[in-house]
Symmetry: C3
Subunit: 476 residues, 3 copies
Amino acid sequence: MAKANFLFTLSLCLVLLFHGSLAIRQPQPQGECQVDRIDALEPDNRIECEAGVVESWNPNDDQFQCAGVAVVRKTIEPKGLSLPSYSNAPQLVYIVQGRGVVGTIFAGCPETFQESQQTGGSSGVQDQHQKVRRFRQGDIIAIPAGVAHWCYNDGNEHVVAVSVLDVSNKANQLDMNPRNFYLAGNPEDEFERRYDERRDPRGERDPRRGPFGEQQQSNCNNLFCGMDSRFLAEAFNVNEHLARKLQSENDFRGSIVRVEGNLHLVRPPRTQQERQEQLERESGQGRRYNGLEETFCSLRNVENIGDPSRADVFVTEAGRVSTVNSNNLHILQRLQLSASHVVLYNNTVRLPHWHMNAHSIIYAVRGQAQVQVVDENGNAVFDGNVRQGQVLTVPQNFAVVKRTERDVFEYVAFQTNDNAMTTDLAGRASTIRALPVEVIANAYRVSLEDARRLKFSTQETTLTSARPRSGRWAAA
Amino acid sequence: MAKANFLFTLSLCLVLLFHGSLAIRQPQPQGECQVDRIDALEPDNRIECEAGVVESWNPNDDQFQCAGVAVVRKTIEPKGLSLPSYSNAPQLVYIVQGRGVVGTIFAGCPETFQESQQTGGSSGVQDQHQKVRRFRQGDIIAIPAGVAHWCYNDGNEHVVAVSVLDVSNKANQLDMNPRNFYLAGNPEDEFERRYDERRDPRGERDPRRGPFGEQQQSNCNNLFCGMDSRFLAEAFNVNEHLARKLQSENDFRGSIVRVEGNLHLVRPPRTQQERQEQLERESGQGRRYNGLEETFCSLRNVENIGDPSRADVFVTEAGRVSTVNSNNLHILQRLQLSASHVVLYNNTVRLPHWHMNAHSIIYAVRGQAQVQVVDENGNAVFDGNVRQGQVLTVPQNFAVVKRTERDVFEYVAFQTNDNAMTTDLAGRASTIRALPVEVIANAYRVSLEDARRLKFSTQETTLTSARPRSGRWAAA
Amino acid sequence: MAKANFLFTLSLCLVLLFHGSLAIRQPQPQGECQVDRIDALEPDNRIECEAGVVESWNPNDDQFQCAGVAVVRKTIEPKGLSLPSYSNAPQLVYIVQGRGVVGTIFAGCPETFQESQQTGGSSGVQDQHQKVRRFRQGDIIAIPAGVAHWCYNDGNEHVVAVSVLDVSNKANQLDMNPRNFYLAGNPEDEFERRYDERRDPRGERDPRRGPFGEQQQSNCNNLFCGMDSRFLAEAFNVNEHLARKLQSENDFRGSIVRVEGNLHLVRPPRTQQERQEQLERESGQGRRYNGLEETFCSLRNVENIGDPSRADVFVTEAGRVSTVNSNNLHILQRLQLSASHVVLYNNTVRLPHWHMNAHSIIYAVRGQAQVQVVDENGNAVFDGNVRQGQVLTVPQNFAVVKRTERDVFEYVAFQTNDNAMTTDLAGRASTIRALPVEVIANAYRVSLEDARRLKFSTQETTLTSARPRSGRWAAA
């Protein structure tokens, strides 16, 4: 009996110990990349707001822990306003669909969008505020850590925006947890629930939460909530009743709210502004970026990579690639991030390659493809389909190959380096081309003739069509 | 009985497990910032020396673990000499009180303070040594990682100096433990005791310590102690008896020793030197820092931020702010640190703001203020008074507001970025000013009129007086 | 009985807990530097290949965990080809012995070594490939993270090459485990076995391994193994039979294979090429490195530091030091690494010093010396002999002194900073020289005369002969 007791206690200890070590492993401050298996994931958290939806991927998943990122997708209805907030990580946002305006707030910079005395606002008083920028489908928007931003859907269709937050970026001096700091409203944080998973092992219970750990929504979540309303009244030089409005108590609209009527902004008429922004973008590399820093206050932070005419790589019958990095969007040098937009036509192979200096986080915009991701042991940590709406991480240095069958596959890849570099394993600009033929022959134990075939048969770079073509196998 | 036994054992296991996980959590190499509560702290360790006192804050406290810093306060009596040492972290020192000289040793740089043959030292032999710099109340002294330094109080009052060591700085390739390496004496390390707290969980016992883990003070602590005295004799080309003096055995004076007589240094007469240094400081931005690197050996590393005439922000009846960053003290670009000196008059509000790219470690020099620090959930992780002599950390991105009542509040804030940036939430250069009025109205659910009040009522930046004034509430 | 039971259970819990915490401590993502003792180590893992041997040091050893590096030694027989691979860490390779050619592949760069139509290869078809560089004894070769490379021994003696991989480098965004990604063959990874040590605590078992955790050598390890052979056939535009050759199944030659006959490479005749490379090296600092970046594709990555005529420091009767850093090999700015080659004659002291901004990993090329390494508490964490073939890590800021007796001691030191700086504690360019005489007298409690002896007696920098000389002790 005593022995049974002992064994039982021992096994309990073991179980607890095991749990303990697992629990402690979680909050690794830097990415732990022992990823034996990666899955293509859909968002597993969904927050309904008054005028939209916020969906997020669990940042504790192995692939995101390894890459040190968090991924969020926001859907904003027409007339939806995403409340101003900032986060502890720099982020890139890709606009999957829709159009609207975005304001990124650099406090201290001048309010350069101003109404003249003739054109006062609805109530006859002139407004002035910082520059707002238009965005549209295919845009990448760059937002530094700690910079507040808001956006508004002034179009007719839903805006769908996918963001990757680089929490392992050196700009984030807090820990690896993604955090949103809201300036208004009372929104549930899309990552909040995941904190709890991590915090539990420490046996603590936040008294501000209910018995099941859920966020008490009657409470107040924005930055003003933790401040004395008297101090706020003094700081804003208003009465305390109005100051308390800043705390947005009992605001259940979430982080995306509906604007009544039309949102009045000071800005150039759409066509004029777009022409202006078009000009700025086109002249971006030439005129603005001259080795000296752009003025901080006029730093351009939007670039379109969805437009086919903008492609950096184009292979007839195979597809195209557009890239935004610190060479064509200078702010990315601060963010240490870049992105690519890729369209693979049907029956196309994205040639096998690896990312030399970055993780790559793929979001599938449209269609599907077969993808294989290979680790340093030659094992496929992913071998399957990636479909529209899914996210897949390709860790730095892991090899990857993609192939479409009947569908076109469109995706955006977010990279954790401002000048992400890839090396192809096949094609005209690849490792095999760089190797002497006799090294190939000896390395792969093939004849010199076969070595030449491996080296010279594929003429394309990046992409190649896999459609049967005349003479395809002739050379082999 | 057996059951009770089992339950007791189980609970013990749980307790141990919990302790275990806490113990393991401690040596997190990067800051873990799950800070639910921050306290304003006074030093909790005190080491008496022959001619002064070294006080330190426990670097294992959550707020310091999050910020990745260690804080020390030294009090040096007149004629006190702080022995040469270096540490694994770059540091900023603020001189709270007193005056003296500091030597920062860049080995390989020339000995530029030289006696001519006419003015030989007390024994008739000429000395020559590296530049020494005067310091006085209000100075910030920047000391890179691994650079040895010493200082001497040649004034009439005690020197009080507060240092912040940035152990999470990239210049530190060792772990997150602050370490001092002494070149002379046999000082007890002010952080030594805290290592033990961390080391214990690994169950090791250092044979060089007593049964209760205390440092055996009869031993030898400086760098020469671990070297063979024969090797030292050969290296210094002296006899072994003298070489053994380097090891300072049985030196119980601690790290601050008393100089007998007056310390003779080669240096320009005080007024001449000060005039020179004054000139250097004033011309600092214009002449010296021209985009090219200053010569390493003449790198200026002292800047006064206490002087009222030096203020960067000044608001009548409210107070002033002086900032030192890599723009006015170039060495800070290497250290990735900056600092501000702030004086709030009574009844003043430091407008609510957040630090975009740095932690801020506040040391209260004089008086007291009410402070609120708010996290991403809108919770006040600190809400209380900060008093003279206390330290409070404001983590990156957390919002903070300060308000004085009857007292003047003077503090210095050390920041973990060479160009720390803040965003105000209220005032003329704030987020609310940057937002369109209609966004404010929709975000906070207030009328357009109230939105304009929130946006335009406060005309000051940074500081505002909270004294009742005529027409204060008139606008609201 | 029940009590004994309880105590036994409790002690078991304690033991388990202790093991648990040890197990968890291992995969610390950043170096943990509580090194109470460092050992001079020989490699403890050996992999025999067809034409050579790969030996590695356990990267989990405390000193390597602290420095964040992994060390490997490769011996390549004449006609041995080291298969192309890349790793997740930048590395420096020192050629201890032999000569050969190395190819570092920058995909996308042009194939600049080309055969004209007249001089086609053995089969009459012209080859063209990227530049290959000659290397010889005393060379440092710099290889960035993620850059594939191969090398070939075309000499008559064995090539011996020691590599230090800086896994804690910011270029590595994966975790701290060193990883090699092979493009060909089926090699056992030299670090693979050590993963298992780390992985075990998590209780996982890799199904691809045998019951004792060994790698199943019948499997396939290179990057192509995880990809569908159909995709490979399409990517390389060859038939599937040939594509499968890329996967190198059942290739048991290891990572160093024997080339049959002579390896035919396109390259200038040896003397002509060497003259060219000689020129390039000599003019390296002057012509090529002008503040602007060298073209990425022609970046020089080899520099000889073994040649006595290249010495940066030379002391008659004592020895010499050659250093390669980002000032004379520009690529090191990207790698954040540097290296020194040191020869100490017999009866010589390498003056005591510390590394201000880098760890130093010493590989003993020849002979032996007594070495002492001292931590911040004045304790010698190493005090013993370092012999040919051993590795010793000197952590950042730790003090170190070396002394030879009868043997010449030759070593190469790899440093984790592209401009590693040391401060000497004795000699003409040292801390003691920088200090005022009276500070020395007060710090070490010696007379002014003795202080002057300590300061001025040694006239050399870096090295001093310890041979009895006339008048040696006279001054003391």
